[in-house]
């Protein structure tokens, strides 16, 4: 899947779950600090991404999701 398509899906979920405007999101955005996401919102976004992309993200990967780019990298590497 194209990286741009993954970013588009994530930003749509960010807007839906946490009302984060797509213009405020870049790959370097830190999820908790820059986007002001709570832990509950991050987990909801991850759960939503699993549904959207049809994969199961192991819990041990959660610690690696610090920035928007981390999420994109993971999905780019694991979505067929």
């Amino acid at each position: 899947m194209e990286r741009a398509e993954i970013i588009s899906q994530i930003t749509a979920i960010l807007e839906d779950v946490a009302e984060v405007s797509p213009e405020d999101v870049t790959e370097s955005s830190v999820l908790m600090d820059d986007l002001d996401l709570s832990s509950m919102e991050i987990l909801t976004i991850v759960a939503d991404l699993e549904e959207t992309f049809g994969l199961r993200i192991p819990e041990k990967e959660l610690r690696n999701f610090v920035t928007m780019g981390d999420l994109v990298d993971y999905l780019a590497a694991n979505v067929g």
């Binding site: 709570s38 832990s39 987990l43 909801t44 759960a47 819990e59 959660l62 610690r63």
Partner: protein, 387 residues
């Protein structure tokens, strides 16, 4: 809590009677018992993103046969199910409305009413009253929920194995375990927990082992007569090496367990865990998303562990035939949700019997357990991988 687990937990109690069960009389007994126990007649209603409990006006039926029915779909909406075959009464229940404490009064009442009808006994029909829900808001006010920061989300978590379930049974001399504990000035459960940690280090091939266990919280929540689930769980980590002996770390395990079981610790932990459930429930998301969020929250909250230890049976009546029978096969009980390995420990006739459910793929658990216990001077009467 169990509502948000993806795996539905259905449990079964079964009772063998002296004679073949008369299903008509059992139906009358069930109806009579339920007439004085309104809590059990509730059904779960789900609409879009909301769910609640309300009285079930459908008849509560006794079903013929021993097959466990899907609850509530195949039980007229009830969250438990009574069935019978031959001389046996089966009582199945969904761990959502009830826990083991909550189930016992109802099934006792049903069996008493059945005895009245079948054998002319004179048991009264007890009123079974459930305490109202505990005050979650008050608990959260006392122990405000802590927002998980990046340090929590980014810490390492235990990733459980989720392979096919296999069983291992280990039987220990209770006397030798107690002596080992006393020699280390620790509770027997602490010694057992430490020994299991040592075995899991070798079996799972990791030096950091996280264990967990649960404790009833009716007392600290102020609802001694609650029929619903009322529990909290604790988890701790030990760092072990091949040469580590029990005496090197059991004092720490013992201190953790003793501290956990203080009323304030239990109340704080309950507020933490139920506060998370409360927050998940408030999310505007479909149930499947809430279930996944709840599950991930358990991981980062430290509830998920390498193994858990649970007591099996009634300490006031430890040697029932049903418990003895269960320890021979333990095919149905609570699966090891939230851990790679679940250990149920029964104390029976001077023996500690460990009924172990294991989802890790590695072979040789029984041999490792035997070696670990024997190296520490605890007598092993039996250790066998059953699958």
């Amino acid at each position: 809590m169990y509502f948000f687990r993806r795996e539905k937990i259905q449990c079964r109690y079964q009772f063998s009677l002296r004679d073949a069960v008369d299903i008509t009389l059992l139906q009358r007994a069930l109806t009579a018992a339920l007439a004085s126990a309104p809590y059990y007649t509730q059904r779960l209603v789900q609409e879009k993103r909301e769910m609640w409990l309300e009285p079930n006006t459908e008849p509560c039926l006794v079903y013929p046969g021993s097959t466990m029915r899907n609850i509530p779909e195949q039980a007229n909406g009830y969250l438990f199910c009574v069935s019978c075959e031959g001389d046996t009464v089966y009582f199945d229940w969904h761990h959502f409305l009830l826990d083991g404490h909550g189930v016992s009064p109802l099934l006792t009442s049903i069996l008493e009413q059945y005895c009245n009808l079948r054998y002319g006994t004179a048991f009264a029909v007890p009123q079974i009253v459930c305490d109202p829900p505990y005050d979650m808001e008050a608990m959260l006010a006392e122990y405000p929920p802590v927002e998980y920061g990046s340090d929590v989300i980014q810490r390492d978590v235990v990733q459980t194995y989720e392979g096919a379930l296999r069983r291992t049974r280990v039987c220990l001399s209770k006397q030798s375990l107690v002596e080992k504990a006393l020699a280390n000035n620790a509770k027997p459960v602490s010694a057992l927990m430490g020994l299991l940690c040592m075995a899991m280090r070798e079996y799972l091939g990791k030096e950091k082992i996280q264990y967990s266990y649960s404790s009833d919280t009716r007392d600290v929540a102020g609802v001694p007569n609650a029929l619903y689930n009322c529990v909290c769980s604790f988890g701790h980590t030990v760092q072990l090496q091949a040469q580590t002996r029990l005496a090197d770390f059991v004092a720490d395990v013992d201190a953790d367990i003793r501290r956990d079981l203080q009323p304030q610790s239990k109340r704080r932990r309950m507020a933490d865990q139920m506060g998370w459930v409360y927050k998940v429930n408030q999310q505007k998301a479909p149930l499947r998303i809430k279930q996944r969020v709840f599950q991930m929250g358990e991981y980062i909250g430290g509830t998920i562990s390498d193994f858990w230890l649970s007591y099996l049976g009634n300490p006031l009546m430890p040697a029932t035939p049903e418990l003895a029978q269960y320890t021979t096969d333990f095919g149905v009980w609570v699966p090891p949700d939230g851990a790679s390995v679940g250990v149920e420990a029964a104390s029976l006739n001077g023996k500690i019997i460990l009924c172990i459910h294991n989802k890790a793929p590695n072979p040789g658990l029984a041999d490792i357990l035997r070696k670990t216990f024997e190296n520490e001077g605890v007598a092993v009467l039996e250790a066998e991988d059953l699958d």
